[in-house]
């Protein structure tokens, strides 16, 4: 009888120890604990910056497409954006490698690494979204016009894959640990605007031609107006019978890759933006380049 009770006690004791050990492991797992408040704050400041930048670029792209007089002009705009995004992605990849090296060398702490990676992840999201928008906008344009104006649709797809790899795994996990689940574009509207601008069923911009004099306010209004119409069917308008995915489905794909629902990736560079984005990232790299 005593033996049985000893055996039972031993089993219970071992079980308790195992539970204790598992508990200890579980407590170590959340890497979030490694992030100090100040490090997280740095990350938050950077992510907010990059998100607004992405939003600005999304909208600037929409305005540019809206403003373009014909498909050739739109194609030129798309080509320039894709080129800028390609450059941007190369920079981001370099920055990611540098950050990893700095962490491994002990030049930066784990928390610092996370703070900077969170911003980087947001910028990759921006680039991804920009590619999605470009792809969607290209879908409404005749392939020959695209070619003549330097748009390589296959290249867009390749870049999207690269961006997806760049933001995969640890990178988006880290972004989530710093900035939470809710990241990416503030609303789909900007992308929808970009899509619609490309596109009446006839391939004309939904808003119709604009006159130069009132473009500025039109641009703003157009955005708002499009919003409404977009609300119902964001991307289909731009099709022209092409099989290219609409902006939403593109986004969904990316989201799936990255991080649940948040991302959709960001637009990134409008040409103009690209300049601007480079600037801003220049700023942030300066800041981050501690």
């Amino acid at each position: 009888m005593k033996r049985i009770s000893l055996l039972v006690a031993a089993v219970v004791a071992v079980g308790l120890l195992a539970v204790g050990a598992a508990g200890a492991l579980a407590q170590e797992e959340p890497d979030d604990e490694e992030i100090a408040p100040g490090e997280q704050l740095s990350g938050v400041v950077g992510v907010q910056d990059a998100e607004f930048e992405g939003e600005l670029n999304d909208n600037a792209f929409a305005v540019a497409l809206d403003r373009a007089d014909d498909d050739a002009a739109r194609a030129s705009e798309i080509a320039a954006r894709v080129n800028d995004t390609e450059t941007r992605l190369a920079e981001l990849e370099e920055r990611r490698d540098r950050l990893k090296a700095q962490r491994e060398n002990g030049e930066i702490s784990e928390g610092e690494y996370r703070a900077r990676t969170a911003r980087l992840a947001t910028e990759v999201d921006n680039a991804q979204r920009q590619l999605n928008r470009s792809d969607a906008a290209a879908a409404g344009i005749n392939p020959e016009t695209l070619r003549e104006n330097g748009v390589n649709v296959d290249a867009i797809e390749t870049l999207r894959r690269n961006a997806s790899e760049l933001s995969g795994g640890e990178v988006s996990e880290i972004a989530r640990s710093i900035a939470g689940e809710n990241r990416g574009p503030f609303r789909q509207a900007a992308g929808d605007r970009a899509g619609n601008a490309t596109a009446g069923p006839d391939g004309r911009p939904a808003d119709g031609p604009e006159t130069g004099s009132d473009r500025r306010s039109d641009g703003a209004d157009a955005g708002t107006d499009d919003d409404d119409s977009d609300g119902s069917e964001p991307g289909d308008a731009d099709r022209n019978g092409s099989e290219t995915p609409d902006p939403d489905s593109a986004d969904v794909g990316d989201d799936g890759t990255d991080s649940g629902g948040d991302s959709g990736g960001g637009s990134s560079d409008t040409d103009g933006d690209s300049g601007e984005q480079s600037d801003t990232s220049g700023r942030s790299s300066t800041g981050a380049g501690r």
């Binding site: 000893l6 100040g38 400041v45 999304d58 909208n59 600037a60 130069g212 300049g275 300066t286």
Partner: protein, 240 residues
């Protein structure tokens, strides 16, 4: 018709040119615009704001900024995220200091000046600084790895003066102190005293009285002891 198309092409050509040159331009710093500000009141609560500056060098960018400025939903989403993230930082700071904190009243202001879009996000952060008698001390979250990518300015409440700063501020005033972007803020602490008050040097309790976290280092301890005790008890019983 032809004229119109030609005009369109010219416009696009010029535009592409502008964009290319914009892309090639070096980063333009906006030191006067970008800032991180902490404006404290006598209870240790603060208005915390971050100001960002964006170059609006093309008409598209300027229009895009206007679109966002007029888009209530976007602005709300932007603020909500900021507030929620700052709340998360406050929770971590609370764990470190043991001082109760809360974050709310998020707001955003967008303003365009010439070719710069200035965006200021702000929250009200209660319990940010420790208040003891007529002294205030600010430490977390700036003391733990915050790396400012823009100048950080701390303003003491009305009627208070800054008594000491660690590290030494880049710019010092009677009631404000500013650290340049890139300053290593390790050991950050700002002591403020009510003018005419006597406090000053003992701001310590603030900066970071460690809290419960220390006990979390031994999560399995209680269970382990229970298991060993149980075994010992049974073994003792066996011997008897």
């Amino acid at each position: 018709m032809i004229v119109r198309r030609l005009t369109g092409i010219l416009v696009v050509a010029c535009w592409v040119g502008v964009l290319s040159s914009a892309a090639a331009m070096p980063a333009v710093a906006q030191p006067d615009d970008e800032a991180f500000r902490v404006d404290l009141d006598e209870r240790g609560d603060a208005e915390v704001s971050v100001t960002y500056a964006y170059d609006l060098t093309t008409e598209d960018e300027a229009d895009a900024f206007e679109v966002i400025s007029n888009d209530e939903a976007t602005r709300t989403a932007f603020v909500d995220r900021f507030e929620s993230r700052m709340r998360s930082v406050a929770e971590r700071s609370e764990n470190r200091t043991g001082r109760e904190m809360s974050v709310g009243d998020g707001a955003v202001e967008l303003e365009r000046t010439d070719d710069t879009g200035v965006v200021t996000l702000s929250v009200r952060w209660e319990g940010l600084a420790a208040a003891e008698g007529d002294a205030l001390t600010l430490g977390e979250p700036f003391a733990s790895g915050f790396s400012p990518d823009r100048p950080l300015t701390v303003s003491a409440p009305d009627g208070y003066a800054i008594a000491a700063t660690t590290p030494t501020a880049s710019e010092d005033g009677a009631s404000t102190a500013t650290w340049d972007a890139g300053t290593d803020l390790g050991g950050f602490e700002v002591e403020m005293t009510a003018e005419g008050g006597t406090a000053g040097s003992d701001a310590d309790g603030t900066g970071g009285t460690p809290t419960a976290n220390g006990t979390e280092d031994t999560p399995g301890f209680g269970v382990g002891v229970a298991a060993v005790a149980l075994l010992a008890a049974v073994l003792l019983g066996e011997r008897r």
